[in-house]
């Protein structure tokens, strides 16, 4: 028996010294006999109650890169409780209010897991850390989401009336307005740029940029982006009504022309070629988006298109949410910056909406066909919710006036506009 134990020990040693390359480094710790009281006492040391009651300054947080950081007394006690409160608020918003639940539920749950004391789930060997390193640190997951969104998007309304794309451009004032605001609040230029993309109202774009320019603020930026996208029906209508007259809101728009299959097929290629020529920096985002859309519009690879729109985007959404949620750990999220980010995000949405509406008013003045200024608000993207809000506000002014398809043009153009704006910011800090 002793011999066998020795052999086992030896075998463990072999394992120990041989596994340098693999993911797994197996070390069997020596076990020292303990009395039952000692055992219970050492167990008590590992409980979460102990960690919360008896705060000490020794606790460390490990990030996905394996970097250890000493936690302060606040971060390891009250901070965590506040974060769990925020997580429950997000659950409430997602479930009871229907605010972007597809992402807010995984993000919030990831935040819950990230705030568990002693479990180190955000470390390189923890579930959240593994996910983070798999697809957030390298920006792979946001691109896959963008590919799926591309496969779900119908650019028909935009192609039917291309000039509405300019409304999707005007709404990007939300990005650059909030950039100036963020700098005024004290953020440096790079952080301010990362934050300002919230105004683009595209989750994957925000995550992609935050990761490149300010990864430490990823959690707050993603939460702000998705929260405000969810708040579109609350934020936009008052601004839309304040900037338009009753008469303008009643404007009827003509029936859209039929768009040929070939136009839809070529569209993603045109956008991609333009972005190659003008802004190669935006091509990862626009490339992934165009690929998804091209696969869909080709019409010959239905099974790939379906997979992008379902199994693949769903799997990636689960992982993206959990991975982003790992940045809701108290020590990352409970900083003054997060408050600033939330405020700037709100301003960005307001500016974007206003700029879109004002641009639409301008275009209505010079256009042969009438343009209802409301559709400018859809330019912020937040596809397709902003377009639905436009349609609702339009129908309030004149029942039966269906603006939905007209609003979809600026709406999808807003996605492209934000990707271009993102590319410009990236090229500046390259």
């Amino acid at each position: 028996m002793v011999k066998k134990l020795l052999l086992l020990l030896l075998f463990s040693f072999t394992l120990l010294f041989g596994n340098e390359e693999g993911g797994e480094e197996f070390v069997k710790k020596e076990y020292h006999p303990k009395t039952l009281v000692e055992l219970v006492a050492s167990f008590w040391e590992t409980t979460g109650i102990k960690a919360i009651i008896d705060v000490n300054d020794d606790e460390v947080a490990i990030d996905p890169a394996g970097e250890e950081k000493k936690l302060g007394a606040f971060e390891s006690s009250v901070g965590r409780i506040i974060m769990i409160g925020i997580v429950f608020l997000l659950f409430y918003l997602a479930i009871a209010k229907g605010f972007e639940p597809l992402l807010l539920i995984p993000i919030a749950f990831g935040g819950l897991l990230a705030n568990i004391p002693l479990a180190h789930m955000t470390g390189p060997d923890g579930m959240l850390g593994i996910i983070y390193n798999m697809g957030i640190a390298n920006e792979f997951f946001p691109l896959l989401i963008f590919m799926g969104v591309g496969a779900m998007t119908d650019f028909g309304p935009l192609l039917a009336n291309p000039k509405t794309a300019l409304l999707g451009g005007a709404a990007q004032f939300g990005i650059f307005g909030s950039l100036i605001g963020a700098v005024a609040l004290g953020f440096d230029l790079q952080d301010a740029s990362a934050i300002s993309i919230i105004g683009g109202a595209d989750g994957p774009t925000s995550i992609f940029i935050a990761n490149k320019l300010a990864p430490d603020m990823l959690g707050a930026i993603a939460v702000a982006a998705y929260s405000y996208m969810a708040l579109v029906p609350v934020i936009q209508p008052p601004i839309m009504k304040a900037l338009t007259t009753e008469e303008e809101r009643k404007i009827k728009m003509g029936v859209q022309r039929h768009v040929h299959k070939m136009e839809k097929l070529l569209f993603p290629l045109i956008v991609l070629l333009l972005s190659i020529l003008i802004l190669p920096e935006s091509t990862p985002l626009i490339g992934a988006f165009a690929f998804g859309n091209f696969v869909k519009e080709s019409g010959v690879v239905e099974r790939l298109s379906n997979t992008m729109q379902n199994a693949l985007i769903n799997i990636v959404t689960i992982f993206l949410g959990l991975g982003v949620g790992s940045k809701l750990a108290a020590d990352k999220f409970l900083v003054l910056e997060s408050l600033g980010i939330m405020i700037i995000g709100l301003i960005a949405f307001g500016i974007g909406t206003a700029a879109g509406v004002l641009m639409a008013k301008l275009m209505n003045k010079f256009s042969k066909e009438p343009i209802n200024p409301l559709i400018g608000a859809a330019g912020v993207s937040a596809v397709p919710m902003a377009a639905r809000v436009v349609s609702k506000v339009g129908a309030e002014a004149r029942p039966g006036n269906i603006l939905l398809m007209h609003a979809m043009g600026p709406n999808v153009a807003g996605v492209i506009g934000s990707a271009v704006a993102a590319g410009v910011l990236l090229s500046i800090f390259k």
Partner: protein
């Protein structure tokens, strides 16, 4: 690095950014308008499908049954 300076910098970013966004979208609008004309010329729409709708609907019913059978087979 004074604060005023930073806001000034950010404003320059905004000018560059909005400029690029609009140039991009203006070129896109222009190209799409040309494309619409070219496609309209070379691929005229076949609008004669309308009258065959009745037949298509009948086919749809057959297709539904086929689809259900397929779904069933796949599921088993």
């Amino acid at each position: 690095m004074e604060e005023v300076n930073l806001i000034f910098e950010a404003t320059k970013f905004a000018i560059l950014g909005m400029g690029t966004v609009f140039i991009f979208l203006l070129i896109m609008v222009y190209v799409l308008n040309i494309q619409a004309k070219i496609v309209g010329k070379f691929f005229p729409d076949k609008k004669k499908e309308e009258p065959t709708k009745q037949i298509k609907d009948d086919k749809k019913i057959v297709a539904v049954i086929t689809g259900a059978i397929m779904a069933y087979k796949r599921g088993n």
